[in-house]
């Protein structure tokens, strides 16, 4: 706003006031060679200056031919140019793609932030640079309003769950579309084995990122049409500027990590005592040998044995700059992280070359290359068979180590003879080697042809290619010869985009930007998996050395998309804004006659503060805007519409097929109609800036996969039916509390509310009513309720007279049984309020930043307690210390039922295992010190001390409220089963720029 005012000022007063010494003239153009009118051309350190004319030409007088000129224009990087004796200049201004205050990246282009009519949130590289995050999503937690990010698990390679403006789909994927430098990524670069999917973006170095823009409303997303209804995340990587001297940036940090919370489990003696009690309570003490001698039990703390102090180091080096004919960024990065579980860790090597060349006056070309190589030493992350899960339920009353201090490789029995098989939580790590290597190349190529003044044609080809190799070896244990597997997966995805862009300004009064384009993309994933056994020796690593093949599998995904799109942005007098966009989009995933969909959007804005009548002095910028439009979702399996039988079965050496789905050639797009109203403001000379949005996002014709009676031979039916509404407010504030020479204090806040409600569901049984359905036996989908409401029997505690677990029936009376017919809605899995805030202080050379993020209003179901660790010793599994409080005649007033061996007493699914999951977490704390005495502005040396995940306030009963067991695409979230809690990391870093 200040800038606009300044421009106006200059326009009015730019008459040569100083004595003419030397006259300098020239033309200012943009990188597409179009003349730029309205550029402020100013003599450095002087008040004198002019504005370029409609043809981009300027002329001004300078004091000497060795002065420096400063060129500034809204939306472009300010450019300083020493005259060095020249009197005529050809100046090129760089669009300020990485200057977020000025311009933001939008779909297929950039836009001046102040002229935006859509709901867009963006962050710059500061969010990623000094934060120890293996993947970019983790650094984004709590940074953007309306963008809720949850960790799949705490391991470095775990998935992240992104939800933009709630959950719009029940059965199709809810993850947003992710686009990097114009290349639409598939999200398929991860690998699924060991019970979970690894993060598809592990190969992407967060340090390469210049900005992340999240497109939220229809005005912003409709240009991505049919894949945009979950929102779009645009990642722009770092690049240099034309005519910029080389700048080198070095950043290194190193530190250690630890588990943020451990489980409180029974020790050997406590376990034996509770076991005996449980056996006695069910009369099983008469079984010979079943009771333990509690005075002589070994004691093993399995968590102790599998946890370690993790280590992390990351090095980023980059050089950026440019000449009149090119610009570049060349970077290299290395990350080495050892997790807090022994033997696990990742190593990532990545390079980046982003460069752009002026080939001729009208032609520019560029190439962006990002090869990376990631080695993931992994293990199961979030299930009962994972080491962390196993450590939680395995016998504590056995000896873990042999005489040499190694984990025992034979069958280990408790003193009463209860045996596992050979293998334990320690051998699952130490006796196995699982190495997943991903070689990825992200590349794009573009050619830009300035056909006429303001008219450009651009063609872009982007390729995502990755190769995954996973070698796993399980070394021999008693009774098991060595086994192993090899997984190979190849991903190839290309986008080809052709754009025509036309920009026209009429005397700073009308501005029109028109984009027309076409895009095709094809994604192809092929993989195979072979598992083998019978290795002669543990030294042998590869499957060729095994005696036999145990299992083999292969998979292939293939999808094609084609779309035609257009966008027009018009502004009148820089205060009345109008936007129009549309995309006609097709996908191979749908039935032949349902492939194409049309997704239009309309938006408008009014910059009130530009009006003459607006005279509120404190408000220097005020804009209202609104949008409405349609986007779609096609994120279902590639061949759902066309395939019903699957060729996997094998029997007795013959191969066969199996019917797995019903005919559904009528399947088409899931559509999302979204309305958005927003307000943007800036007060007191930008001291307080912010925005407020309200949205209503209605998804209809859901790609709804409803459970059907399994007696029909299939368990689900997918069809376009049903509707969901998400609505909420989003607030974003930046407040510069103090700005003094030696001290500054800034506060940023963002928060979003979410109200989610199902409007309509399928009526499969034809009774005229929407059919409710329940997923995972407790997540209810019912018209009028939020997606994923918890549907459980209410736990009523323990009968003090006999230790029976009690439950409420629907009339509120207590009973000892928990039939499903007594289930009721007891909470929701979607947070109602999410966001984050940060405080930044600077005092002389010191700076301090604290970033918090929070989610509230939701609950999580602790499957790990329900199935394993809080079942009051109903089986052989180890229990949490809480279970020592089980009912006894001496301890009648408790909420833990009587321990009863091999008997369900209170471990039926109920609210006993449902926990509030609200939390606020100190995500990132960083203290920096900048060395004084640097010679030039951009030269500096800064040391910093950072900590991640230092503190969490939560009533949650599990380990980490910010984790999720079910896969990221699902809408039936809200559970944990042995998720690794997020690591707490402490790092010391050094950042040098020169």
């Amino acid at each position: 706003m200040q800038r606009l005012a300044f421009l106006t000022y200059l326009t009015l007063c730019s008459v040569g006031l100083l004595p003419a010494q030397t006259s300098v003239s020239g033309t200012v153009r943009n990188t597409e060679n179009s003349p730029l009118p309205g550029v402020s051309v100013q003599l450095k350190n002087h008040a004198s200056g002019v504005i370029s004319g409609p043809d981009g030409a300027f002329r001004l007088t300078v004091l000497t031919a060795y002065d420096t000129l400063v060129f500034t224009l809204l939306g472009f990087t300010p450019h300083e140019l020493p005259l060095a004796g020249r009197t005529t200049l050809e100046v090129v201004l760089q669009e300020a793609s990485d200057m977020l205050g000025e311009v933001v990246v939008v779909g297929f282009g950039t836009q001046e932030k102040q002229l935006l009519t859509g709901a867009i949130a963006a962050v710059g590289s500061e969010v990623f640079d000094n934060v120890s995050a293996p993947v970019f999503q983790r650094a984004l937690q709590g940074q953007l309003p309306g963008v809720a990010i949850t960790n799949g698990s705490g391991g470095p390679d775990a998935e992240s769950i992104l939800r933009i403006r709630g959950v719009g789909s029940i059965s199709a994927n809810n993850q947003p579309l992710i686009v990097i430098d114009g290349l639409t990524l598939t999200g398929l670069a991860g690998v699924e084995s060991l019970g979970f999917l690894t993060n598809a973006y592990l190969g992407l170095n967060p340090g390469d990122i210049a900005s992340v823009t999240v497109l939220k409303d229809a005005a912003a997303t409709a240009i991505y049409g049919a894949r945009a209804s979950n929102g779009v995340v645009l990642i722009t990587t770092k690049n240099g500027s034309f005519e910029q001297p080389p700048r080198i940036n070095l950043n290194y940090y190193a530190g250690f990590s630890e588990i943020s919370k451990r489980r409180e489990l029974l020790n050997g003696q406590e376990y034996a005592t509770l076991w005996n009690q449980a056996a006695l309570n069910t009369g099983r003490d008469t079984i010979p040998g079943i009771l333990y001698d509690t005075s002589a039990q070994p004691n093993t703390d399995w968590q102790d044995l599998i946890l370690q102090r993790g280590f992390v180091q990351e090095f980023n080096a980059g050089i950026s700059g440019g000449t009149a004919a090119n610009r570049y960024y060349i970077g290299a990065a290395y990350r080495d992280e050892a997790g807090y579980l022994i033997t696990t860790g990742i190593k990532r090597y990545s390079l980046r070359v982003n460069t752009e060349q002026r080939l001729s006056k009208r032609l520019r070309a560029g190439i962006l290359l990002n090869p990376s190589h990631t080695v993931d030493r992994r293990t199961g992350n979030q299930w009962a068979g994972s080491p962390f899960g196993w450590a939680a339920w395995y016998y504590p009353n056995v000896e873990a180590l042999d005489a040499n201090g190694n984990f025992r490789r034979e069958v280990v029995s408790t003193s009463n003879g209860y045996a596992g098989f050979a293998g334990n939580p320690g051998t699952v790590l130490k006796n196995r080697s699982i190495k997943t290597t991903t070689s990825q190349l992200l590349s794009s190529l573009f050619l830009n042809w300035s056909i006429l003044e303001g008219l450009d044609f651009r063609t872009e080809l982007g390729i995502e290619s990755s190769q995954v190799q996973e070698f796993a070896r399980w070394y021999a244990l008693e009774g098991f010869s060595g086994s192993g597997w090899q997984l190979h997966q190849q991903l190839f995805n290309y986008n080809w985009t052709n754009l025509i862009r036309w920009r026209k300004h009429w005397q700073n009064r009308h501005r029109l930007e028109l984009t027309v384009g076409a895009q095709i993309s094809r994604e192809n994933l092929e993989g195979s998996y072979i598992s083998v056994s019978g290795f002669a020796d543990d030294q042998l690593s590869y499957i060729g050395s095994a005696a036999q093949i145990d299992y083999k599998e292969s998979w292939a995904n293939d999808a094609a998309f084609a779309g035609f799109f257009t966008r027009a942005n018009y502004s009148l007098k820089n205060r009345y804004l109008l936007g129009l966009s549309a995309r006609y989009d097709g996908s191979s995933r749908f039935g032949r006659n349902r492939r194409f969909g049309f997704f239009p959007a309309l938006s408008g804005g009014w910059i009130i503060s530009e009006e003459d009548f607006f005279k509120v002095k404190a408000v220097n910028f005020l804009k209202i805007r609104s949008s409405i439009g349609l986007s779609g979702n096609s994120a279902i399996s590639d061949f759902l519409a066309r395939s019903q039988v699957s060729f996997e079965p094998v029997y007795n050496g013959q191969s066969g097929f199996r019917i797995v789905a019903l005919e559904n050639d009528l399947l088409g797009w899931e559509k999302c109609l979204q309305w958005n109203a927003g307000l943007e403001f800036s007060l007191w000379q930008d001291r307080l800036q912010g925005s407020l949005d309200y949205f209503i996002r209605d998804t209809k014709d859901l790609l709804l996969e409803t459970p059907v009676p399994g007696t029909n031979g299939v368990t689900t039916l997918i069809q376009n039916t049903g509707a969901i509404r998400n609505q909420g407010f989003e607030l974003s504030l930046e407040f510069a509390v103090l700005r003094r020479k030696h001290f500054s204090w800034e506060i940023r806040f963002n928060g979003a509310t979410l109200k989610n409600r199902i409007l309509e569901l399928a009526d499969n049984n034809g009774d005229g009513l929407d059919d409710d359905f329940v997923l995972n036996q407790r997540m209810l989908y019912r018209t009028g309720s939020p997606v994923g409401s918890f549907f459980l029997v209410k736990y009523a505690g323990v009968n003090p007279n006999n230790g029976d677990a009690l439950f409420y029936d629907l009339t509120g009376n207590t009973t000892t049984v928990a039939p499903a017919s007594n289930r009721q809605i007891v909470g929701k899995s979607l947070p109602g309020f999410t966001g984050g805030f940060s405080q930044s202080f600077r005092y002389r050379q010191f700076d301090l930043t604290a970033h918090f993020h929070f989610k509230t209003g939701h609950k999580l179901y602790l499957e790990e307690h329900a199935l394993y660790n809080e079942t009051n010793m109903s089986g052989t599994l180890n229990q949490l210390k809480t279970q020592l409080n089980a009912w006894t005649a001496e301890n009648p007033n408790t909420d833990v039922p009587q321990a009863r061996l091999f008997t369900v007493n209170g471990s039926q699914p109920s609210t006993r295992y449902l926990s509030k999951a609200d939390f606020i977490r100190l995500n990132h704390l960083e203290l920096g010190y900048r060395l004084a005495g640097t010679r030039r502005d951009h030269t500096n040396l800064r040391f910093y001390l950072a900590a991640q995940n230092l503190l969490t306030l939560t009533p949650f009963k599990g380990l980490d409220p910010d984790g999720e067991f079910y896969p990221s695409y699902s809408s039936a979230l809200g559970a944990q089963r042995y998720n690794l809690p997020a690591a707490r990391t402490y790092t010391l870093g050094l950042n040098a720029n020169f």
Partner: protein, 499 residues
């Protein structure tokens, strides 16, 4: 180039891109799946569909684990104290809930198999006419196998999910009967449970219709006529139709099947003479957990119950015991010998806690074949049927002795086989003054001979005898109707104890 030309070129580029698109979207084709109508084109396709069903049968949710393990646990031959198969301890303790994972998966998998069989049966008549390469005998065999498998699946479903047919004349709810394929939404049904007797009528129709269509001896892993007779006999037993059972089994006595030399051989030798029908498994094509649940070192505490171990002791009658004692000989039952004579015991000790079966011991590879029906059972079925029809009779006694001679060895103190020692453990007609005493001896023999193969529970149900100390009609002896099914199908009824 003039601007007009430039624009024209641009438009041409865009136009090319657009016209290419509809074709472009056709290009991706699945390489692992097909639409139903494309999958059922000819006789070979029907074979592949059947193979898919056999593969499901081999799955852990059906015969590869649950249909054998669950009745053994519920029936009280075996007890599960914990391990990798979480939740089996509740099945074992008759403490299941309606959300029981084992019951749900068995239900869903069985009906998936049934739907595919229905599809085979529905497509077969058309393909018989259209596919010249499909011979009549091959088409008959396909139809026979499909009918047989459907009958078999309903037989196991109804015995596990419903009350026994002997109760209330079978009028209580059985399981839903699905006899037509569901291939599109319009085919959907929300069926209620057919009565137990209706389900049995359907099983009888399917098996009886399958019998003449099947070859007498089928290829490996496939049921032939004798397998159909065996299951018809088993079903007749459940219904108390003993003369039918006697005639089905009579036809099998002259077949090529015979007992193996020792009880071990059946479990250690593939393709032996006793296999009437077995589902072959291999490391590449494993059973779904049968070996891991029962086997030693599989991480599951599955032990023989005290009740079963007691029953082993009663195999040699007191009179036989007496005679052996006087002669200074010992009778060793190879089925329960833990290493005195045999190198491959069928019962092994696990720690200090107990004993477990060793019939399925390939815990790493899960490659133990799944025994569906074997000749020893046929001998015992016929023996009991005749005893019920004729009272104490020589043929029954001889059939019973045939099984005992194979299983029990008489040795002297030096572990040497006693010539003619079989005489000590064989029964004589005179040992059985009435039908009942003979029948009891046969039932005792069945429990030991067929232990851990999924038999005992069903025997107790047909005999209306208690298991785990509970009356045979006790609700908790049934698998719960899966809650997921009740959630989506209001026409189903849950057993009272799971409500």
């Amino acid at each position: 180039m003039s601007t007009i030309h430039q624009r024209a070129l641009l438009l041409a580029i865009l136009a090319c891109c657009m016209f290419g698109c509809s074709k472009f979207l056709d290009d991706p084709q699945s390489s692992t799946s097909l639409p139903v109508e494309a999958a059922f084109q000819n006789g070979q396709d029907l074979e592949e569909a059947l193979t898919g069903v056999y593969d499901l049968c081999q799955d852990g949710h059906l015969y590869g684990r649950n249909f054998i393990v669950l009745p053994e646990l519920i029936g009280g031959n075996a007890v599960f104290y914990g391990g990798g198969f979480f939740g089996l301890e509740y099945v074992s303790a008759l403490n299941m809930t309606a959300t029981d994972w084992y019951a749900e998966n068995s239900w869903l998998t069985a009906y998936a198999a049934i739907n595919q069989l229905n599809a085979v049966l529905a497509f077969l008549p058309g393909i018989r006419n259209s596919d010249a390469a499909l011979s009549n005998s091959q088409a008959n065999r396909i139809e026979g196998e499909a009918l047989f498998l459907r009958g078999l699946l309903y037989f196991d479903l109804v015995r596990l999910f419903a009350l026994p047919i002997g109760l209330n004349a079978g009028q209580q709810p059985g399981v839903p009967l699905m006899l037509n394929p569901v291939l599109k939404k319009e085919d959907f049904q929300f069926p209620e449970q057919a009565s137990v007797v209706k389900v049995y009528e359907q099983i009888n129709r399917d098996l009886a219709a399958a019998l003449p269509l099947l070859p007498e001896y089928n290829s490996t892993g496939r049921p032939g006529q004798h397998a159909a007779r065996a299951f018809l006999a088993r079903m007749a037993f459940q219904e108390g139709r003993y003369s039918d059972a006697a005639s089905y089994t009579e036809a099998m006595l002259s077949s090529a099947f015979d007992l193996t030399d020792s009880p071990q051989d059946f479990f250690t030798t593939e393709g032996n003479t006793e296999e009437i029908w077995t589902l072959p498994c291999s490391p590449e094509d494993p059973n779904g957990g049968l070996s891991t649940v029962f086997g030693l070192g599989g991480g599951n505490q599955t032990f023989a119950t005290a009740d079963y171990l007691q029953a082993q002791q009663e195999i040699i009658s007191p009179a036989q015991q007496n005679a052996l004692g006087q002669a200074g000989y010992t009778a060793v039952d190879l089925r329960t010998d833990t290493g005195y004579l045999v190198t491959h015991p069928l019962l092994v000790q696990d720690g200090v806690v107990g004993w477990r079966t060793n019939k399925f011991e390939q815990v790493q590879e899960e490659s133990d074949d799944i025994p569906m029906v074997r000749f020893a059972e046929i001998l015992l079925l016929r023996a009991e049927a005749l005893a019920r029809l004729q009272g104490s009779n020589t043929e029954s006694v001889e059939l019973l002795n045939r099984v005992r001679r194979r299983a029990i060895r008489v040795v002297d103190a030096g572990k040497q086989l006693v010539p003619g020692g079989a005489g000590f453990i064989e029964y004589k007609t005179g040992d059985f003054p009435d039908a009942n005493s003979l029948i009891e001896a046969i039932i005792r023999e069945r429990r030991i001979e067929l232990a851990f193969e999924g038999n005992f529970f069903h025997d107790q149900m047909r005999l209306q005898r208690p298991v785990q100390g509970l009356g045979y009609d006790t609700c908790r002896l049934r698998l719960p109707i899966p809650q997921r099914e009740l959630d989506v199908n209001p026409n189903l009824k849950q057993h009272s104890c799971y409500q």
